[in-house]
């Protein structure tokens, strides 16, 4: 059996895909030496010029990937930290997201932009960000944020095969924290499909990334208290799997949406709105959201960082209230 961490899942998948398709190449800062998280370790030695160190310039990493994908190659770009993708926002929003739309599919961009995201790693304001809400409000871009190694493998493969630009988000906190026997674990192979990871009758918790794990352990705790939580792993954040979201909401009538990103304007608002519009009659309680507070970014000191981060306790507390409603 192959038990591996998230980072091993990413590295091994990149290796396998590059071996399968020689149009795939990697572009990013420090990727030749393996990258700061070692996601590309050994790939330069194995694939040579198909692993390219870029100058320190994110707009160019994305804009050059656009050109290469248009030419017919399969760039897999790495943004060293999701926090540094912002100077590439224009290339993603004004260009990549519209490539197929404005050419009626005549041109398209089979490219992936990998970005380590999320907090709880003493990364401070610029090494902890959640960026998914910005790109989930960008039709034409797909956004993927798995939580388990097996899904990292299957969805990174699917992202590379997808003819559209995919932002593939890898939560830093779980890179080495979460292990899984990837051969015998469920693996979603399609984008835009959420998974009901844990069935439950009393209330529904919807989450993704690191928060999915915190939600699962909160559900564990609550099970001991006789509260039966359903937990949904969104997996793909754009386009959303509205069907599964509504199905899970209707099943329990009580919904708690969890994310680490700041509350206002976060993805939780959209999920809540979808439910409030299309599952209204099934609701037995207000739709609750647990999220980071509305501050510009995660502070550095662990005391403030802990205060910022949602976690199993905060999730369990909110779920208790909801169950009691």
């Amino acid at each position: 059996m192959a038990t591996m961490t998230v980072i091993e899942a990413v590295r091994s998948t990149l290796d396998e895909e590059m071996a399968r398709d020689d149009r795939i190449f990697l572009l990013g800062e420090d990727v030749e030496a393996g990258g700061v998280f070692r996601a590309t370790d050994g790939l330069h030695a194995k694939y040579g010029e198909r692993v390219i160190d870029s100058p320190l310039a994110e707009s160019s990493i994305i804009g050059i990937s656009i050109g290469a994908a248009h030419y017919g190659l399969r760039p897999v770009a790495e943004i060293q930290f999701a926090d540094f993708i912002h100077s590439g926002f224009d290339q993603l929003c004004s260009e990549a997201s519209r490539w197929s739309y404005r050419t009626n599919g005549d041109s398209f961009l089979p490219m992936v932009v990998r970005a380590p995201w999320g907090g709880g790693v003493h990364g401070g304001q610029h090494h902890s960000q959640s960026i998914e809400a910005y790109y989930s409000h960008m039709p034409g871009i797909k956004v993927v944020a798995p939580a388990f190694p097996a899904d990292f493998r299957s969805l990174l493969k699917a992202s590379i095969l997808d003819p559209n630009p995919v932002l593939f988000l890898e939560h830093k906190r779980i890179y080495r924290l979460i292990k899984q026997d990837v051969d015998n674990a469920p693996a979603e192979t399609q984008l835009s499909r959420a998974r009901i990871t844990r069935p439950g009758a009393d209330l529904t918790i919807i989450a993704y990334g690191f928060m999915l794990h915190e939600s699962l352990s909160a559900a564990e705790t609550l099970a001991g208290e006789g509260i039966d939580c359903m937990v949904v792993d969104l997996l793909t954040l754009n386009p959303l799997d509205t069907e599964t979201i509504l199905e899970s909401a209707k099943a329990t009538g009580k919904v708690l949406v969890v994310h680490e990103d700041t509350l206002t304007g976060g993805l939780g608002g959209e999920i809540s709105a979808i439910i409030a519009e299309h599952a209204f009659e099934y609701l037995d309680a207000p739709i609750r959201r647990i999220a980071g507070p509305d501050v510009p970014a995660m502070p550095y000191h662990h005391a403030m960082e802990e205060f910022f981060m949602p976690n199993r306790e905060k999730i369990a507390a909110a779920a208790r209230d909801l169950a009691a409603y």
């Binding site: 804009g63 050109g67 290469a68 005549d106 034409g140």
Partner: protein
């Protein structure tokens, strides 16, 4: 250093001095003229309320046609900018397609009615789809050149923008990457003196746009952008050299925006009439025609014949295009994502 190329003063000139075949010279005139007449008709249609928006290349036809003719049609890539009608005509765009584009018709191969006029793109012709956002295409061109190099394809990429657009960060990131990796890309800047209302010195701290190449160790040249032959003679060797692995090249074509920025602009509030009049004398079309005529390359009749052919094409294109189908409202929803077939 930026080497300036100016037309040499000539005594008795023969066609050999042009280093171009008669056919090529005829093409040059034809494409420049077609671009100009199309733009004129488009502006008329705008005034008639038939086209909401026109942005033209009047004054830049020599630069555009001369540069495009230096490429291998259908093999080399072009990432143009909105004024480059001339470039697109050389690469195969028909007058009818140009008019479909103006009117945002369903069958416009560039934007299918989804894009504004003059936002080019045609996959088969190797014209990269463009947005309104300036200079982003410099990175796309660099990425295409990187891909071609990785695949060892003998492809050259030419990308263009205005002089004002060279102030964007993407300009720097493109030239830097292309220089580090010695990529086959030609950065072609059409310096027409203005960025909407801003004259060049408001954004350019050096004498020539071409001087910006110095910071990257990239070869560069300044050429008289009103002289189609000179432009061709400058771009062609740069393209050949890039194809041989000689790396990127920055070429500045000195031309002039003979018209307002767009159909929405009133240039009289910021542009001195005298300056405009001076440049009108250097109109690339009159310059070219006068030259080939006085040099006796073409008899007047041949040139008049071209004029008539172009006039007819433009008239036909406009009338034909207006009768073509508009997009359906629901077409707004199509192709958000590419589906794998």
């Amino acid at each position: 250093m930026a080497a300036t190329r100016t037309p040499k003063t000539r005594s008795k000139v023969t066609i050999d001095d042009y280093l171009l075949s008669e056919h090529q010279l005829e093409e040059m005139y034809y494409y420049m003229l077609l671009a100009r007449r199309l733009n004129e008709r488009m502006l008329a249609m705008n005034r008639q309320g038939r086209a909401p928006f026109v942005i033209a290349g009047a004054g830049q036809e020599a630069a555009q046609v001369g540069a495009a003719m230096a490429l291998r049609k259908g093999e080399d890539y072009v990432a143009p900018y909105y004024r480059d009608l001339g470039v697109n005509l050389v690469l195969g765009m028909t007058a009818r397609e140009a008019m479909l584009n103006l009117l945002g018709k369903r069958d416009d191969p560039n934007g299918h009615g989804k894009q504004m006029p003059a936002h080019w793109g045609h996959r088969e012709r190797k014209v990269v789809t463009q947005s309104s956002v300036v200079t982003t295409q410099f990175l796309h061109a660099t990425g295409i050149a990187l891909a071609a190099k990785l695949r060892k394809d003998p492809v050259v990429v030419l990308t263009s923008c205005g002089e004002g657009s060279t102030s964007k960060g993407d300009f720097h990131e493109s030239l830097n990457f292309a220089a580090v990796h010695k990529l086959p890309v030609i950065f072609f800047v059409e310096n027409n003196g203005y960025a909407i209302t801003e004259s060049t010195e408001k954004s350019l701290p050096v004498e020539n746009v071409a001087d910006r190449a110095r910071g990257y160790g990239i070869q560069s040249a300044v050429v008289d952008g009103m002289d189609c032959v000179a432009v061709y003679q400058t771009v062609r060797p740069a393209v050949d050299q890039a194809r041989r692995g000689g790396g990127p090249f920055l070429i500045e074509a000195r031309c002039y925006r003979l018209w307002p920025h767009s159909s929405d602009d009133d240039d009289t509030r910021y542009r001195p009439k005298k300056e405009l009049d001076e440049w009108i004398k250097k109109d690339p079309l009159t310059l070219f025609r006068g030259r080939v005529e006085s040099d006796g390359i073409f008899p007047k009749e041949d040139l008049d014949e071209i004029e008539q052919r172009v006039a007819e094409e433009v008239r036909d294109a406009a009338q034909w295009a207006m009768m073509q189908p508009d997009p359906e409202p629901e077409d707004a929803l199509t192709f958000v994502y590419k589906e794998l077939d």
